[in-house]
Every structure is written in C-alpha cells, then in structure tokens.
C-alpha cells in the first residue's frame, strides 16, 4: 500500500485541491449546519448565565471550575498534536505528513481559540477577562510571576501566535497558487493580499526553508512547555490528587493522545467531504493510527505510574482521592476513562482495524471521549474530596448550562475548522508535489539500479 501515487500530475494536484474550495460534498453543509445549531445552544447557555449569574451553572465552592476548566484543558490538549507532530515529522523528514499537516495545524489554532473561550466563560464576568492577563495594577504592582496560572497565559499566547505564524508561513506558496488559478472575486483579492507577492523564486524558497525549519525547532519545546505549564497549574498546588511529580509528562502524553485521535477523526471527515481520497490515503491513516496506539500505551503507562506512586506514597489524602475515583460518585466516569483511554486503543493493534474507516471513526471518537473524561476526572474528584471535610458531601453535578457550553464549544470549533477548510487549501499543494516528485525520483533510481544490476 503506497502513501501516494508517484504519477499524479502536478496540475491535477492543483485542480483537486482548488476544487475542494469550491465543490465539497453535501455533507459539508450538513456538518456546518449542525455545528451552527450546537454553537447556538452554547451561545444561548452563555447568554442565560451572563444574565442570571454563575449559580445557574451550579458552580459553587468547592466545585469552582467544573466542566469549564476541564474542557479548557481538553481543548489545549487537542491543540497539541497538530503543530507538534507537524514540526517533529518535518524535522524527521517524514514526508507522509505532507498531505495532512495543514489541517492538523489548523486544528491546533482553532483548538487554542476554543480553549481561550473557557477562560472567559468560567470567570462569569466576561467583561473582566483581562484579569487573566499579566499587567500591573493601579499601584504599579505586577501579578505574581511565580504563579503557573500567569505562566499559562503567556505560554498559551506564545503557542497560539507561533502556531498561527507557522500555519500562515507554511501556507504562503499555496496562497499564491490560489491567487493564480482561482476566478476573480473576493477570494482572489484575499489570496493576493495574503500571498504577499510570492512567485516561487529560488531566493524566496531558500529563505522559506530556513524560516519554516526554525519555527518548527522552536515549536517542539514550546508545545511541550505549554502542556507542562498546564500540568503545573495543578501539580504545584498542595491539593491531593494534583500534587503529582509525573503530571507534566502525563499531560503532554495525554495532549498528544487526544490530538492524534482528533487528527484521525478530522482526517476521515475531510477525506470524504473534500474528496481527498487520493491524498489522504489509508496508508497514511495507518501510520497515524500506529502512532496513536503507541502514544495510548505511553499514556496508560503514565497512569499506572501515577496510581502506583499514589498508592505506595503513604499520602492518605491522595490515596483517598484515588479510592474515591474508583468507587465513589465519579466511578462510572473514571472507569469510562480507563476503558476509552486504555482498552479501546487495543483495537488499533490489529492490522484489519488500522485501515477500516468506520471502525477508526468510532474508535477515535471514543478515545477523545476518554481524554475528555480524563480532564474531568482530574478536576472534579479533588474538589469534592479534598482536605476540607465540609466539601465531602458536595457532589455538585454540572448543570445543563455547563453541558450546553461544552457542546457549544464543539460547534464553535467545527465552524472555525470547516470554514477554514473551505476558504484555504487544507492539503498542502506544493508539499504534495514535492512528495510526488521525490518519490518518483527515488522510484526511477531504484528501477535504473535494478536494470543495471547483473
């Protein structure tokens, strides 16, 4: 099974990808309609919470974060695989990334934008969202630079802006293709503006190559730092269940895991909706699936490390939280997390399932459900079974308003992502051409070598 056919004409690559901008399958509009509907629910819930107060979310002491911060972490995690995998695979010269990295990077950007919403939403007073930014107060006193929450604000800003630049710089040659080959209209004006007059000269390519590589080198440690800092939000506190040394690598692995599952889901959707069967091939899907399986096992291992270190640590409060997770109010969700995160991915070990689209679609959704549950199970049990005994009978179930906003965030993400894929090429045309060119050269060389062999 080949990653891509070596004999695809370059003009056909342009035609197919540019065609996706104009004529997607009808399912595209169905998805967009559903996304708007779900987003509308989220907006409705936010308006109601804004008008009425945070009480309608059923957020109160001790559950002050609820689903909002759980979902914030989920979306930050989702953002990880796109840019991180794109950058790592670029440095490793893994050319199979070329047809899929663009949408993965877009996924990163839009996940971060979705995550940012929850920071505002959980404050309640939306107009005071700037409280989360580092600036000095009227007495000239700066916030505490030793707080991981402040690190979070800067790390996420750095990651979001760098990811947007990485996505944009990598897209400039394709924007020039769109400028040259699409009909007159607003699109052409947009592409002309964004392509900055790119003409593919040797000078432009030379500087492009160095810049892209440089940003990729920066993004790898940056992505690791972002989720380590999110982990530090918890691990640097003294709360039982959070004060765990292995949290940063655990969070990074979890982020990569959910990001990879997200890539599988979106891969399958885009492949069908934009008729990319020739570029997003099953062979490439198989490689992502194998990667996801490997990461799922790392995540499972880190879970086992965490459970074992808590169990044998003689820290009774942390141990109680672990017992509470496995047997208390949240037990169905905690076991659901273990099932979806550690048992379901075992299906990916079988060759038959690695290329079965319906199975992979279902599995990728279950994996992400598991990863969302993981974030909820980090937050809620500690709040309901922390050091204060008064909190122990406060199992506050999230209200429909919270659930509505969580669902709404999926609608918001889908709108951003689907609109992006309709306006900008979601498969990198010039990189697929490079992939086809280098593979055909390699094929020719090996054929010549075979013919020349005695």
């Amino acid at each position: 099974m080949k990653d891509i056919r070596e004999d695809i004409a370059w003009a056909k690559i342009n035609k197919d990808v540019l065609g996706s901008l104009e004529n997607p399958r009808k399912l595209y509009w169905v998805i967009l309609f559903c996304a708007f509907a779900v987003f509308g629910v989220g907006i409705g819930c936010e308006v109601y919470q804004y008008q009425t107060g945070m009480g309608v979310a059923n957020l109160n002491n001790p559950h002050v974060w609820g689903l909002y911060i759980s979902t914030f972490i989920f979306w930050i995690g989702m953002s990880h695989s796109g840019t991180l995998l794109s950058a790592i695979l670029h440095l490793m010269h893994a050319d199979w990334r070329k047809p899929i990295y663009r949408f993965a990077e877009a996924m990163t950007t839009f996940s971060l934008m979705t995550a940012g919403l929850f920071v505002m939403v959980h404050i309640g007073r939306l107009w005071q969202f700037y409280y989360s930014l580092p600036y000095p107060d009227e007495r000239g006193i700066w916030p505490n630079f030793q707080s991981p929450l402040l690190w979070d604000a800067l790390a996420i800003f750095t990651y979001l802006s760098s990811s947007i630049l990485f996505l944009y710089v990598g897209m400039i040659p394709d924007l020039a293709i769109c400028r040259d080959h699409l009909h007159e209209g607003w699109r052409k004006k947009l592409y002309t503006l964004l392509s900055l007059g790119w003409e593919g000269t040797d000078r432009q390519w030379r500087n492009f190559r160095v810049t892209y590589l440089t940003i990729a080198c920066f993004l790898i440690p940056l992505a690791v730092s972002v989720h380590s800092i999110v982990a530090a939000d918890f691990a640097m506190s003294q709360q039982p269940g959070w004060h765990v040394t292995s949290f940063p690598p655990y969070f990074v692995a979890g982020a990569l895991y959910s990001g990879c599952s997200g890539i599988i889901t979106l891969f399958i959707i885009l492949r069908y909706v934009f008729k990319f069967e020739e570029y997003m091939t099953k062979s490439i899907l198989k490689k992502i699936v194998r990667l996801t399986f490997a990461i799922s096992m790392v995540w499972t291992y880190l879970n086992a490390v965490e459970f074992a270190s808590v169990w044998y640590s003689h820290d009774q409060a942390s141990k109680d939280i672990l017992i509470q997770k496995a047997t208390g109010t949240y037990a169905p969700f905690w076991w659901g997390m273990i099932f979806c995160g550690s048992i379901v991915p075992l299906t990916l070990a079988f060759k038959r399932t690695q290329t079965s689209i319906p199975v992979l679609f279902a599995v990728s959704l279950l994996l992400n459900l598991g990863m969302w549950l993981e974030r909820w199970m980090i937050i809620a049990p500690t709040f309901s079974h922390g050091y204060y005994p008064w909190a122990w009978d406060h199992d506050q179930w999230p209200s429909l308003i919270q659930w509505g906003m969580v669902f709404g965030s999926f609608g918001w993400f889908t709108i951003l992502f689907m609109v992006f894929c309709k306006v900008f090429p979601s498969v990198s045309m010039y990189e697929v051409k490079e992939m086809v060119y280098h593979r055909s050269l390699h094929l020719k060389k090996s054929e010549t070598a075979e013919q020349g062999a005695p």
Binding site: T158, S162, W205, N207, F208, F218
Partner: protein, 175 residues
Amino acid sequence: MSQRHLLALFNNFEDAEAAIYELRAANIKGFNFDDLTLKSPIEHHEVENILGQRSAKVQWFTLAGALMGGLLGFFLISGAQANFYAQMKGGKPIVPLPPNFVLTFEMFVLGGVFISVLGFLICAGLPAKRSPLYSAKVSEDQIGILVKADESAMAKIKGVLLNHEVSEIQEEAGK
C-alpha cells in the same frame, strides 16, 4: 544599454538545470549570472549546486529575536519583582531564578518566532510587486528561468535556452 527581461518555461528541473548550467558556462557579455532567477512550484535546493551558494540570513534574525525576547522577558519580570518595597517577599529570594526561567523561555521563543518571520519577509523580499514577467504556470507545473540582461545579450541567451527543450519564452522590455 537598456536591460530586458526574459522568462523561459521548462517542463522539468533537468532541462532547466541544464540551461542554467550552459548559461553560466557561456559567459555571455552583457549578462551577469547573478541576475538569473529560478522560479519553481516546489522547493528544489539541488539548484544551488549550479546557482552557487546564495546564503539565507534568516537565522541571524532568529538569534537576535530569541535573545532580545529572552532578555526582555527576564528583565521585565526581575524588574517587577525587584520592586520589593511594594511587594514584601518575607525572606524569599527577590528574583527567584527557577520560576523566572519559565517565562524567560516563553519570551525567548516568542521573540525568536516573531523576528524569524520578520527576517523571512525581509530576506525573501516580501511583500513584493509582481516581477516584470510572471506566468501562473510556475505555480502549477512549470519551471521558470527569469533572466535580466542587456538587449545585446538576449539573442545569445535565447539561443542557449532553445537548446534545452524550453516550452515557452516570454520577453518584455525591462525598466
């Protein structure tokens, strides 16, 4: 003597490279080899073997940006923390290095990435106006060689290009 531009389109890199090689070897009067530009739909760094090493200086911007970002981050934070009359530290270090490293690192990356992109735009000459001769085929599947030379050299250059299965030649008067 007035200068003119000429754009030759080729179907593949082999022919384009052979033409460039011959143009360099021909040593045509009125044509400076550095005025030759290759335009291609994909990056083809092998062409540097013929064009010669034309260096990219983006990495210097990166270094400057990263250092500036890191230093700015560290001194901004330390400066704020050093305001210990306003913020009592209770015997703890006024400028604690381990937590400050985190934000310094973030600012290091932020500066590095932003200034790299700025450096890219400067070094690649972007945003740019359309060059005198441009064909949309270059962004599809054709390899273009844009040559700037004296009018007197054009005939010889054209002759060289025609030796190498050029698919199309466009000519225009230069500025």
